[in-house]
Each structure stands twice: as C-alpha cells, then as structure tokens.
C-alpha cells in the first residue's frame, strides 16, 4: 500500500525484509514476555512475583543504578572533556588523540576488567615488581561498586565523546565570530552558544553511556561476582547457572525488569534530545576552533597523563602479568617467561578454536548484516514517517536490551528443536550467530540509514527518470554514494562482535567458545596468567584492526571510521 509507487521487485524485497525483521527483532522479545507472564495467573507463588518480592532482586536493582549512575558521571566528565579539547582547540596530533581515546570502547570489557585487576591488589605484578604491593590478604580495591563504576565510566566515555564530537564538528566558526562581534566574553560564548547547541548531543551521549552501563556484563562479572556484589545482569547469569525449578521464568522476569529500565532510559533520552535539538542553519566550511596559545603544552600533557592512567598503565599491567610464571610474582629477568603464550598457542586447542570461532562469527555477521542493511534502509526511507519510526524502534530493541536478556530470549526460543525442520540449533554456533544478527542489526543499520537519509532524494529521482529500476538505482547510485557508511557499519559490527562476551556467555557450548568466553572462563578458574596472555593478543588484534583501518582511511571516503577524520 505504502509502496504503491514502486515496482514489484521492491514489493517482494520489502516483504521478505520485514519478515526477517519480525523474526530477528520481534520474536525474541515476544517469547521472553510470554515466558515471564506464564506464571502470573497461577497464584502469588508464581516465579515472577517471587522475583519481584525477593530482596536479592532489589539489591541488584540498587547496585545496578549506583554503578551505572556513577559510571555515567565518569563517562560524561571524561568524554565531554576530551571532546571539547580535541575538537575545539588547536591541539597537535589530533588524529592520535582521537584514536587513543576510542580504544577503551573497542577493548572488550572483560579484558579491561582483567587489566585493572592486575594493576591493583596484592598479586599485582607491577606493584610487586616495584615492591609496593599491599600485604597479602588485603582486598583488591577494584572488587567494589566504585571499581565497577570507574571501569564502566572509562569503557563508555567514548560514547559521550563521539556523540559530542560529531555535533561539535557541525558548529560553524561564524557562530563564534558573530558572538565576538556582539562583544561576548570567552565565558559568555561557552555558556550562551556552545553549551546550548551541544546539550542535545551531551544528553544523548550520557543516556547511551547509562543504558550501556546498565546492560554491561563483563565488568560487573569480573569485579562483582568474586565479592558477591551483584547487579541485574550478573544476577541473571548466576540464576541461569543455578538451574533451579522455575528458573527460566525467574530469569525471564528479571530480564523484563532490566529491559524496562533500559527502554525507559532510551525513550527518555529521545524525548530530552528532541526538546533540546536546534536545526543549524546555513553552511560554513570551517568548524569552530579556539587557539590555546601558551596553554597548549600543559593541556596536551594533561590529556596524555589521563590517557596514560586509563589506557596505558592497565595495558602494561596486563602485559606484565602475562609474562610471569604465576600470579603474585614480581617480573624480573629470572621470572620472565613466555610459557603462558606457548601453552596458549601450542597446547590449548581451545584457544585456537575460540579465535577461529570468534573471527568466523564476527566476519559472517558483519557481511550478512551489511548486505541486509542496503535494501532495509532503502525501504525504510520509502515508508511514511510513523511506520518508519516504529520499525527502527523494533530493530533497536535487541541492541538496546542488555545482551544477557537477549541471550535468555534466544535460549527460550531455541531450547526446543525448530518446528517443521526438527533440527535443534541450541548448543551450536548458529544460535550465537543468529543472536549476533539480531543484536547488531541496529549497529550496522545506523550509519547506512543516516547516510541514505542525508542523500539528496533528487539523485535517485534523476536515475528513475533515466529509466533505472529499483535494483539498478540501488546498485548504480545509492550504493556507491553510501559505500563509506556500509564499510563503517560492517567494521563496527566486526569489532564489537569479535570480542563479544555477554550473549555468548550464556549461549556457548563445548567446541563453540568465543574469545570473550575463553578469557572469562580462564579468569574464573584462576588461570589469570593465561587469561592475561590471551587478553594481550585480543588488545593487539583490536588495535591492529583499528590501525589498519586508519591507514586505509585516506582511500576511504570521509566519515567511514569513527576515530579518523581529516579535520
């Protein structure tokens, strides 16, 4: 009906795409809600009401709010500070700052947690190497609510940074010049011009950081579970591991709770953002920039120190602990050993398997999603606005709800063999793959969709007048013009999914380990040195991937890679 103007090619395409979205995005959530509500009609003893009355639930609820709130605060301070300085001033080597600051987001949370654990505490190889480690038996300060919040903040600061930086790059220099002509002071320019214009981006970034913190599993799992400080995702994980009666309904209930929190946060963010959004009129080739003058060197030093603290030192700790024979020993010429690496590469078949599993999953997911998003965004843009918002929100749901919830939904969906086919994908790699498709569809879609919506509609209409049908228009006109966005989408999916832990933590099975699961399991079983060695490799892999892309960046159109821009 809505696509009446278009040909039958397009109609078939849209039909199959919407079917797929329904399967990927809607079905898991529906299944989850059904399971959570299953017990309700029986009596007050039902699993859902039990969950709601359990003090454990509300403790985890409070903990989740506390760690996420504090984490968001840290993320906003870090991210906004870096965004303002790196974007608005004449600081040197901008590209490197951006790259380094984006790195924490790309390093998987379990690796971040592991590296910070190695940094502090009595067994710290670094502190032991310098002989300043706390006495044995004293607690590691990272095993605490504040430790979790700190790492959530560092992990999510790039979200705030990116949101704000994108907006700042759009602010034309003449706004400041106009303010200066009106004799506004430096402070007045900040308070009256820059802050109001960036408020929307700041709120969006903060809300993203909060939602992402709420759903984070890796950090509270590594830092909270050992001292029994549980947040909602780790509570779900523990209940899943517990296998009690009515367990599935209980976790489904918990999942609903956390989903509501997260979705509520997202809706509030969108509402707030819409209220504070200003359309920028006019165009200007140069974006805002302030001269730092004599403050340039001190500013650069300060940024360097912060990055040293949050990025370099933990990484060194990680590297150091991968070279000692056992945790708690200092690193020196006698103790230095690469046995962990040898063991990992030579003896442990599981490591090689996890690497190839993760690469396969991430590669397949990014390619499939990239191919899917071309027709999807195209069709979305042909829909009336209301329908479009509805569909994009649906696609957003699996990404917005925490990974642990999505994993539960997939278990519920696929615990029994598939109808008609009679094959069970539960316990195979396919279930992880499908969950990734569902989860990362919106990650891939966003850059592609926004690139397409920014394209002048007349470009496609001109092709239509030239006689090109829908497929020809897609291939000849739209694809080449939005290719950068496709790369960006696929790369982002690959980077995120290759290190993914939360979804696979519940869906993996023997033989189907992912990298994230491998590190988590090794750490849990006390094999910290080996876990560190693998983490070092993971960090190297991530950094190498990002660096490769940065090298390629001049050949790719502008805007493909978030941590690279020509400004």
């Amino acid at each position: 009906m809505y696509l009446r103007n278009t040909d039958s090619q397009l109609r078939w395409l849209s039909f199959s795409i919407f079917l797929l979205i329904a399967l990927l995005s809607l079905l898991p959530s529906v299944r989850l809600i059904m399971e959570a509500l299953k017990g309700v009609q029986f009596d007050v003893q039902s699993p859902l009401s039990e969950v709601m009355r359990s003090s454990q639930t509300w403790t985890a609820f409070r903990n989740s709010f506390y760690t996420s709130g504090l984490g968001t605060l840290i993320a906003v301070v870090l991210g906004a500070g870096f965004a303002f300085i790196v974007t608005l001033t004449n600081i040197r080597a901008r590209a490197i700052w951006v790259f380094l600051f984006m790195l924490p987001m790309m390093i998987p949370p379990q690796v971040t947690a592991l590296s910070w654990l190695q940094l502090f505490g009595p067994a710290s190889p670094i502190l032991n190497t310098f002989g300043v480690a706390p006495a044995l038996g004293s607690p590691n300060p990272m095993y605490s609510a504040e430790g979790i919040a700190l790492l959530l903040g560092i992990q999510n600061a790039p979200l705030v940074f990116l949101a704000l930086r994108t907006q700042l790059l759009c602010l034309p220099q003449d706004l400041i010049e106009a303010a200066k002509v009106a004799r506004a002071s430096q402070e007045a320019i900040w308070i009256d011009i820059i802050l109001p214009l960036t408020r929307g981006a700041l709120i969006a970034g903060a809300a993203l950081a909060f939602v992402s913190s709420l759903g984070n599993f890796g950090i509270p799992a590594m830092l909270g579970i050992p001292v029994n400080y549980l947040v909602l995702p780790t509570l779900i994980y523990q209940k899943m591991a517990g296998f009690g009666q009515g367990m599935l309904s209980e976790v489904a209930g918990l999942s609903m709770l956390i989903s509501f929190l997260v979705l509520g946060g997202m809706i509030m963010q969108q509402w707030l953002q819409q209220r504070s959004e200003y359309a920028l009129v006019g165009h200007s080739s140069s974006h805002m920039s302030f001269r730092l003058g004599k403050w340039r060197l001190p500013t650069e030093t300060a940024l360097g120190l912060i990055l040293l603290m949050i990025l370099v030192v933990p990484c060194i700790a990680l590297v150091v602990s991968s070279f000692v024979p056992a945790l708690g020993m200092p690193l020196n010429s006698q103790t230095f050993t690469v046995s962990a690496y040898i063991e990992m590469l030579a003896n442990q078949g599981v490591t090689a398997r996890a690497f190839s599993n993760s690469l396969l999953l991430a590669g397949a997911a990014s390619v499939v999603l990239m191919c899917l998003c071309l027709p999807l965004s195209y069709i979305l843009l042909k829909l009336p606005l209301k329908v479009r918002i509805l569909v994009t929100s649906l696609i957003e749901v699996p990404y917005a709800i925490p990974g642990i919830v999505l994993a539960i939904a997939f278990i519920l969906l696929f615990a029994r063999p598939l109808p008609i086919l009679g094959v069970s994908i539960y316990g195979s790699m396919s279930i992880i793959f499908l969950a990734y498709l569902s989860c990362f569809l919106s990650v891939c879609l966003k850059p592609i969709y926004s690139a397409m919506s920014q394209m002048d509609k007349a470009l496609e209409e001109a092709a239509q007048l030239a006689g090109a049908n829908a497929i020809q228009r897609l291939v000849h006109i739209i694809l080449p013009l939005t290719a950068p966005a496709f790369f960006a989408g696929a790369i982002l999916v690959f980077l995120i999914s290759v290190n993914e832990l939360t979804v696979s933590a519940l869906l993996w099975s023997a033989g189907n380990e992912t990298l994230g699961v491998l590190i988590f399991n090794l750490d849990e079983s006390g094999d910290t040195v080996l876990a560190s060695a693998i983490s070092v490799l993971v960090v190297l892999l991530v950094a190498a991937l990002m660096a490769c892309l940065s090298l390629l960046a001049p050949r790719l159109p502008k805007g493909v890679i978030p941590w690279h821009d020509s400004v």
């Binding site: 009446r4 103007n5 278009t6 040909d7 002048d456 007349a458 470009l459 209409e461 001109a462 092709a463 239509q464 007048l465 030239a466 006689g467 090109a468 049908n469 020809q472 000849h476 006109i477 080449p480 013009l481």
Partner: protein
C-alpha cells in the same frame, strides 16, 4: 510528439488538498511555465507529471497513453521524461560523461551510439571539453548545463524543470535563460518549467499557468497575462501597477482615458477595481481632470519610480524621466486601464 493533458487532476496529502481540480492542455513543443508563490502546488504538479507522486483524482494523459489516474500509475522509469532539478541532482561519483550517458546505459545503447549521443548532448550545452570532470570540479552554471544535457540525451518528448535557476546568481541566471531558450528551439521538446519568478516565466514560456493554493488562476500567453489579468490577485502578482478603487464595473474590459476619468470621478461606489500599469500614467499632462501628491520618488537608472497619492487615498505608481519633489502636486492622465473581477477572498 504528443499532447500532454491534465484532466481535473487533484492531489491531497492527508486532508490537505494541494492541487485542486486542475485541467491543462499542453501542446507538443510548447514551453509552459507553472508560476505561483511557494505552496501553490506547482512543484506537486511537476512531480505528478514525472510520476514521483500519484494523483488523487482526475488523470494525466500523454497522447493516447494514460500516465496517471486514481487507479493507474505508470512508474517514472517507464515514462521517458527528462528533468532538470533545482539541486541539479548530478551523481557525484560519475564524470560529466557518465552522468549524461547514464540514461543511455540503462537503455543498453550500444557503444558507438552511446558515444555519439553523449557527444551531441554535450555539444548542445557546450561542455564537451569538460566530459571527464567530476561534478564537484564544475561551477554552478556548468553543473546546470550538465543536468540539461542529461535531460535531453534520450530525446524525451517532455522535459520538466523544477526551479532550475533558483540556486544561481542573477548574472548567471540571465545567461542560463538564453541557454534554455536556445535549447528549446534546438530540441523542439515540450517543456514544463516550474518557477516562482514571474520575470523568468515571462521571458521563457509560450504559455503560463498561474497557480494559487492549488487552483489555476489564469492560463494564457505572457502578453495576455500582463495586459489582461483575470482577477485582482493575478494583477497584484504579475508585473508592476496600481489597483484603484472605482465605481462598480464589469470585469475584464479595457478602459480608455475618458472611461477611467468617468469611473474615478463618480463617487457613488467603490466596489469596482481597475489596474493601471505605470507606463500608462502620464505625468506631463496638463488637463486638470486628475491630480495626485508625490509621496515617493526612487531613482532606477533609466527612469524614476514615482508613487502618488490620489484624492481618494489610493496610491498610483508611475514612471517619469525626471525627479519630482516629494509633497508636490501633479496633474496626470491615465491613458488606459484594465477592469478586474474582484478576488473572492479579498474583503476590502
């Protein structure tokens, strides 16, 4: 070549009617302008002709083929129309040659024909030296000419123009107007040209459709439109001139000098309206029949624009070769005027 006709076409978005019961017949080879203020529905009409929008009621015929009706819609890609967009809509990833040749590529034209026809199209717009450039390496006027070449490369029956000069500066606009006129002479194609600029429409078109709020106000040649506007709104919209109140009078008549004086002097009513073009006001007259007070005098280079206040309070616009003192009183005569049907929505 075939006649293009719109028969009682209406278009609504939701409950808002944008084009209301419009009928137009465009003869083969005509250059037609759709003229009106923004929001009058002219772009929607063009988009319906192109096939980007469906029609809500009525139908569009091209020769004996139905393009659009409430039940049927021939997709754009099957219409073989050319179009020049306001934003040029050049594909930034293709060279000038590839842009112009794209419609031929879609039609699977063989290599030789492709080369020759692209060459011919580029010759018409004098851009053959630029065929390997990318659109970003061209100036605004050159981009517009590439768009022009692309619209004609398949030799379409109808070429549509959507405010093609709106993004160009005044100087370039004048030279593009000349290009368009030559282009029309050379191709002989039917052209439908949307604009809000009456000077542009008058300079280019054989026939102008004046639109307001989705309704056709007048459909005539530029000369008739100027000399004989069909109602008060069109008279205000087109050209310079003053509308004077007078005794009730039948609309759409040409008045002589004597008629004008008679109608203005009779104070029994003021429900009639007459349009006086400034070139028809003679300020060197000595007859004592009409007079006005000079309120404004503006230098325009070749002449002065004079605004006078008449005895009944109406303002009269006139031209004069010399400046006049503000506040002075002048004798004047009006050589001719055009009586107007009152617009229905005008209430004073």
């Amino acid at each position: 070549m075939a006649r293009l006709s719109l028969n009682a076409v209406s278009k609504s978005f939701g409950d808002k009617t944008v084009v209301d019961n419009l009928s137009l017949t465009i003869e083969p080879g005509q250059f037609v302008a759709l003229l009106g203020p923004s929001g009058c529905g002219k772009s929607t009409i063009l988009r319906m002709l192109a096939g980007f929008e469906t029609v809500s009621a009525g139908d569009i015929q091209h020769g004996d083929q139905c393009l659009s009706s409430a039940k049927f819609h021939l997709p754009t890609e099957e219409r073989n129309f050319g179009m020049v967009f306001q934003s040029y809509a050049l594909w930034p990833h293709m060279t000038v040659m590839e842009n112009v040749g794209y419609p031929l590529k879609i039609q699977k034209e063989d290599r030789q024909n492709y080369q020759r026809r692209v060459q011919d199209a580029l010759d018409i717009v004098q851009l053959n030296d630029f065929k390997d450039r990318l659109p970003s390496q061209l100036s605004g006027g050159q981009r517009q000419r590439v768009a022009l070449a692309r619209s004609l490369v398949t030799e379409p029956d109808v070429i549509l123009f959507d405010e093609p000069l709106a993004n160009l500066d005044r100087h370039l606009r004048e030279s593009m107007e000349i290009t368009f006129r030559e282009f029309h002479r050379r191709t002989g194609a039917t052209m439908v040209y949307v604009t809000h600029d009456q000077a542009e429409a008058m300079a280019l078109a054989d026939q102008i459709a004046v639109l307001k709020d989705g309704q056709l106000m007048q459909w005539s040649t530029p000369e008739d439109l100027y000399a004989q506007p069909s109602n008060e709104w069109v008279a205000n919209f087109i050209g310079q001139g003053s509308i004077l109140r007078c005794q009730s009078v039948l609309g759409n008549q040409l008045l002589t000098s004597a008629d004008v004086i008679g109608l203005l002097y009779d104070q029994t009513g003021h429900h009639g309206r007459m349009l006086v073009r400034p070139q028809h006001v003679d300020l060197s007259a000595t007859s004592n029949m009409l007079q006005g007070t000079v309120r404004e005098c503006i230098f325009r280079g070749e002449r002065y624009d004079i605004f006078l206040e008449l005895e009944n309070g109406d303002t009269l616009h006139a031209y004069h070769t010399e400046p006049l003192t503000i506040g002075s009183t002048r004798q004047l005569s009006i050589q001719q005027a055009w009586t107007l049907e009152p617009s229905h929505d005008h209430d004073h």
